[in-house]
């Protein structure tokens, strides 16, 4: 299972520290989801050797509106393995799910964000994963948490109905905010998600990373077309 993390300088802990703690907690890897103006510096191979944790190069786009977001998608799509786009407004949510080059719509219900059947269908067609962000459940209490839970329930019902792809994350900004997969699953179960559903959302990050790594590899030409092994240099 994988978790998507904000590393220093976006968050408080370096990629190495997050990976180390994630490894101790039972994760197989982490997706780095820093913003474009706070990208971290790390050596993924070294981290994998030392802690046995796979680090996936990702980026979270934070934009004021669809036009700016579109520019960022063009700029960064080729560079990174997993491309996330922070939602939270109706315009950005809509832009993200209609854009097959975006991998994950992050935090769609934050702020003014909302989600409906139209977006869910578009997300399924374009393979855009909708994120279930558990940080409000873990970190808030009282009214704000009730609000976050009711938003999450709505999102779950829509996503389930249209079979849209999804990912699950606790959205940690430091190694202290990381929670082990079993704990996240236990929290999910209490708020109405099934065990298998939660685990699937944590595994989805890996499937996404694997698919995109294959696409980034040199033998890949386009979906369904691949350079074969029979071509030999004369």
């Amino acid at each position: 299972m994988y978790e998507a993390v904000h590393a220093h300088p976006d968050g408080d802990s370096t990629v190495a520290r997050l990976a180390r703690t994630a490894g101790e907690y039972g994760y197989d890897g982490v997706v780095v989801r820093n913003r474009s103006d706070a990208r971290p510096d790390y050596d993924a191979d070294r981290i994998d050797d030392e802690y046995g944790v796979d680090v996936v190069d990702g980026l979270e786009i934070r934009a004021d509106g669809p036009e700016q977001a579109s520019g960022y998608v063009g700029n960064y799509r080729r560079d990174v393995t997993v491309l996330l786009l922070e939602g939270g407004t109706p315009e950005l949510n809509r832009f993200a799910v209609e854009q097959p080059r975006v991998d994950v719509l992050a935090r769609p219900m934050a702020g003014d964000g909302d989600f409906n059947h139209v977006l869910a269908k578009a997300a399924r067609e374009n393979g855009v994963r909708v994120e279930f962000d558990f940080s409000p459940v873990l970190g808030l209490t009282g009214g704000p948490r009730v609000q976050a839970l009711s938003d999450m329930r709505k999102l779950r019902e829509v996503v389930d109905q249209y079979d849209a792809p999804y990912v699950v994350s606790a959205n940690p900004y430091s190694h202290l905010q990381l929670r082990a997969p079993r704990e996240l699953i236990a929290v999910g179960e209490l708020v109405g998600f099934s065990r298998e559903w939660m685990a699937d959302g944590l595994r989805e990050w890996l499937r996404l990373a694997e698919r995109n790594r294959e696409r980034q590899s040199e033998s890949f030409i386009e979906p369904g077309v691949k350079r074969g092994t029979y071509e030999k240099e004369p």
Binding site: P9, T14, R17, V137, H175, R179, A180, A186
Partner: protein, 159 residues
């Protein structure tokens, strides 16, 4: 009062919990217990909290690292896990918590999952983001003191 006969006594499970804070974090037993009860109450309500009957047994905390055992009624361990996961601050100090394992006896719980404190921590001066900083070092983790707060790093960041 006379003890209950054995078949009527509640069955318990014991969760080994690891606690971590920044090096300046101070977590005491009482406040941690209170946070745990609040977390459970907020998550599963009064009825659920009474069922799970969460109690802290051992509690040790020093230099930003601690361990404890949480006793929970058999069959309510998932609620306990969820409540523990929802503890994010104790006395204003951000904390990381993890359930290291679960056993049917306190002794097994201690032997299998606790006592991993490791070597004592040391202060060291490191270069972090092109500046000289002091860091608290333990078992290859570096908590670097930056202006008024900390950044978490490991030895790999200083190679």
């Amino acid at each position: 009062m006379k003890h209950l006969p054995k078949h009527l006594r509640p069955k318990w499970r014991y969760l080994a919990v690891g606690i971590e804070t920044w090096p300046d974090g101070e977590v005491e037993r009482g406040p941690f217990q209170r946070e745990l009860w609040y977390a459970a109450q907020n998550l599963v309500g009064d009825a659920g909290s009474a069922d799970a009957d969460l109690t802290l047994l051992d509690f040790e905390f020093e230099d930003g690292y601690g361990e404890t055992i949480v006793r929970v009624r058999h069959g309510h361990t998932d609620e306990a896990r969820a409540a523990i996961a929802c503890i994010d601050e104790v006395d204003g100090h951000p904390v990381g918590v993890v359930v290291r394992g679960m056993s049917g006896t306190i002794r097994a719980c201690e032997e299998k999952y606790l006592g991993r404190r490791g070597e004592f921590s040391a202060q060291r001066t490191v270069a972090f983001e092109n500046q000289e900083r002091t860091a608290v070092v333990r078992n290859g983790t570096y908590d670097v003191r930056t202006d008024g707060s900390f950044s978490g790093a490991t030895e790999l960041d200083f190679e």
